[in-house]
Symmetry: D2
Subunit: 286 residues, 4 copies
């Protein structure tokens, strides 16, 4: 949860667990002129991994270079992976879409309401249908043609992402499978929404699968895309009860609200630096 | 939902869809001296199947034999499967358990509070651990020994079920796989609770599977047991959000509340004649 | 739930409870050439009131005038309030807004996705802020000025509603209190969304009230507006858990998703003729 | 969430917010030989109050007296209210009941399953009805007679609580109003479950109130009892959707599951030292 005082920096840390990590981290921040606004930590006991996220504000005496030098010494001692994130630098996120608008609208409307701490410099699509939505929100819209072959097509996408200095890619019901080359290049920077409760109902037409199986609950799953289709680390999920007298079309319709909620939540947490990946799973430290 | 006037009969009907079924059914009931308290119906369009359940009270002029004769004529015309259930006759349900008590307690406590319209004449177990629970509720407890081989063991179970004139069997976290012979003999009369969100996580240790997959939600599924393990028609399901910082042991603990709720709900609906099976799926008509 | 065969008519009935109502209604429909697609009924025992809604399709032999004449005879016998709704005639709904867009967007996007069976001919506002949203969706936008006094202001609103032949009014976070004259004239045709779990937190700033009271759950309530502020019959409600470490601003933000969902759901049910009012309460017959 | 390594101590801290608190606390623990297993903190900005809870394990070098002396110096500097809780010392909780068993059973069954870190040395009742439940779980049962007048009656209760060295009192659907003297003496040590969503439906018969108001959701609230009936700081709440075709009796029945869940959750958090009270509200630091 956000505090009324806006933090200046977020610090994320991952390292083997041992005694004294929190004390060392917080002492270094306090000494450097930082005021900790919140701190979350978790020890994944089965893999002996300590995870920490802290947001802090700084006073004018704070010297980023000096702090990073001091922290590097602590990090070396504890064998930390760490990163200092300047909260004033906004993540640049590209949204990839096909024909369905509900997830795209959700991200754009939440962004308009100030609930997503990022920029959306560009929308990329393999169909022209959602161009008018991009126009409504004054965002450049690029249509890329899959008919030219996956390699050429993905090269076009890659060029746009580079031209626009994109950090992170959101697949907002984007109905194309990305190549392993692409997902490896953008490892842990591509967030996909799958319209099923993974690991059930992987692949195509999950609502059809669910309906034929006779489930009483449908769901959606946001996850990092990797080279195994619908098998990357899960970031967020949600479900709703569905009357068994519904048609498949009604599953599709009711599922939309779950999809947009889950995708928004995944991106919100990601932008807040709450999402850690360790041992093939994610851990969310709010 | 139950009405303040207790119904005397429930009538369930399944047949190919055509015009005029509801009118024919309700007219026959009204003519026979019945007062309809509620009526639910659904047409499964994909299999052209009409389903109906109605509860009605009767006055002293009602003659069951005459009504059944009159209804048989209607049923023949519409090619109905149908059944008239006397609400004064309570279903006799055997509970099968192993070592875990939470589902057993749930059924017994809800029954004690008048929320399950059945009798529990007997508890059968493959372990002695829950004998004291049976004693608390004054229910005969039979321990049957799986070590004697599945055929002999199931023959013992079958004999108890027959001796006690059991209609329906509830597997309340019963950790034995039933033979195809047994599930066929008791088709659509054995309700199992699986501690996972089916069809994900079939088979053993579903919470372990879920934890390793990194899901953010766990669930439970009540279903009719058939010869395909954990694949019978689903009756009820529920899920809860789980923090990803939980251990497997915590998944197991938190899952208990979902399991007991889902199993109770499945049995409650079943006893109220709300559960129809058609085309391998269930339809619940409240 | 909607069926795959689209119904031609909905029939709603309310009357004192007695034996044979369902049989009489369904027999009249079947005789008139109607095929019942679904039927819901409820008896409110405490006020001895029977409620029924049924959707039916008709074949070419159906004669509306003849059916209504036949049904009027049945209705007279049972003292029914009843109405036949032609499903091809779309309800004309005006949306009234102030400055907040999330409820307005929800209605317009769901409508665009075909999930609301109505027309939105006009948007009326007491502020100019949301004019651009109306433009995005090509809907005429009228700004009416409250500064001219409530009577003159409401006369303007009334004139627009009449000019555009409006049937129903939705207050989508419209921050003006309507006069008793207005709500009486539009009785059971004005749906308001209140951003609190009624009857707690009536009146202004419900999230502030909730936060100061230290609740762990916030909610929203859609209800018919009547002359008692926030006290009209409730149509739909929902709630979400909120961490107690949230600020009021976060309550406001998180509450938006509940508000838009509850308002959409209320309007959807209303348009489907599912909402009955009896004894100061609503009953929803799906 | 509990860790796989059991903590030896919990430390709770409340003080005016300022820079460096977390660093000071964690440094003192690390220096004293403690290993922090988890740490939660929150700053209530509106009342400038910093709250912290941390669980830590210790090695054999840990000297409790030395640690407390060292921490007292830190505490004085930051004007802390603080307490060190030995996790090996179990809280002694008395359960007060009337005639309804579902909340009592929930606490006893969860305790039996190892999910409540306390002892239940005694059950006190103003009716004999639940004596047999106490017997099932081998817990002494005291029936105290309200007919002798509130002062004499509460003196009896007080004597039992003292005799059995009770720390905390849980009112598990105990249908007696406690005197201001009693609640003041046991300030923030009496947890009550109210069968309504507070602040709506205070006082008697909340389900009746809710039904007559036509709500679509019912709830329950666990709170600290104080001298203002049903107005003490809220600890936990939950709600469920209820069909509006339910009777009051069905509200009562369905509400039971919410009540038992909310009361268990409140007690579980309380025993884990997660519940802070500040400015008339509670804050839960998991």
């Amino acid at each position: 949860m956000m505090s009324m005082i806006r933090p200046d920096f977020a610090l994320t840390v991952s390292c083997p667990d041992q005694k004294g990590i929190i004390a060392a981290v917080t002492h270094t921040i306090a000494t450097g002129g930082g005021n900790i606004l919140n701190l979350s930590q978790h020890t994944a006991v089965d893999i002996n991994t300590f995870l920490l996220k802290t947001d802090f504000s700084v006073d004018e005496s704070f010297d980023r270079a000096a702090f990073e030098a001091a922290f590097a010494a602590v990090a070396a001692k504890f064998k930390m992976d760490w990163k200092l994130h300047d909260k004033a630098v906004r993540t640049r996120v590209a949204i990839l879409v096909s024909k369905t608008s509900h997830c795209l609208y959700e991200l754009l409307l939440k962004h308009q309401d100030g609930e997503l701490d990022c920029d959306f410099p560009v929308i990329i699509a393999n169909h022209p249908d959602l161009a008018s939505v991009a126009t409504q929100f004054h965002i450049p819209f690029f249509q890329v043609d899959p008919a030219k072959g996956k390699a050429a097509y993905e090269a076009d996408v890659q060029r746009i992402l580079e031209d626009w200095k994109i950090d992170t890619v959101v697949l907002a019901r984007y109905m194309q499978i990305l190549s392993p080359e692409f997902t490896r290049r953008w490892a842990y920077q591509v967030i996909n929404i799958h319209h099923g409760f993974l690991p059930a109902f992987m692949g195509a037409k999950p609502y059809h699968q669910a309906w034929h199986r006779g489930v009483k609950i449908i769901g959606a799953t946001a996850h990092f895309a990797n080279e195994d289709l619908d098998q990357g680390p899960i970031i967020s999920q949600d479900t709703i009860q569905v009357p068994d007298t519904c048609s498949i079309a009604e599953f599709v319709q009711m599922g939309k609200d779950v999809e947009r909620k889950v995708l928004f939540e995944a991106l919100r947490c990601f932008l807040n630096r709450e999402v850690f990946v360790s041992g093939g799973r994610t851990f969310l430290l709010p």
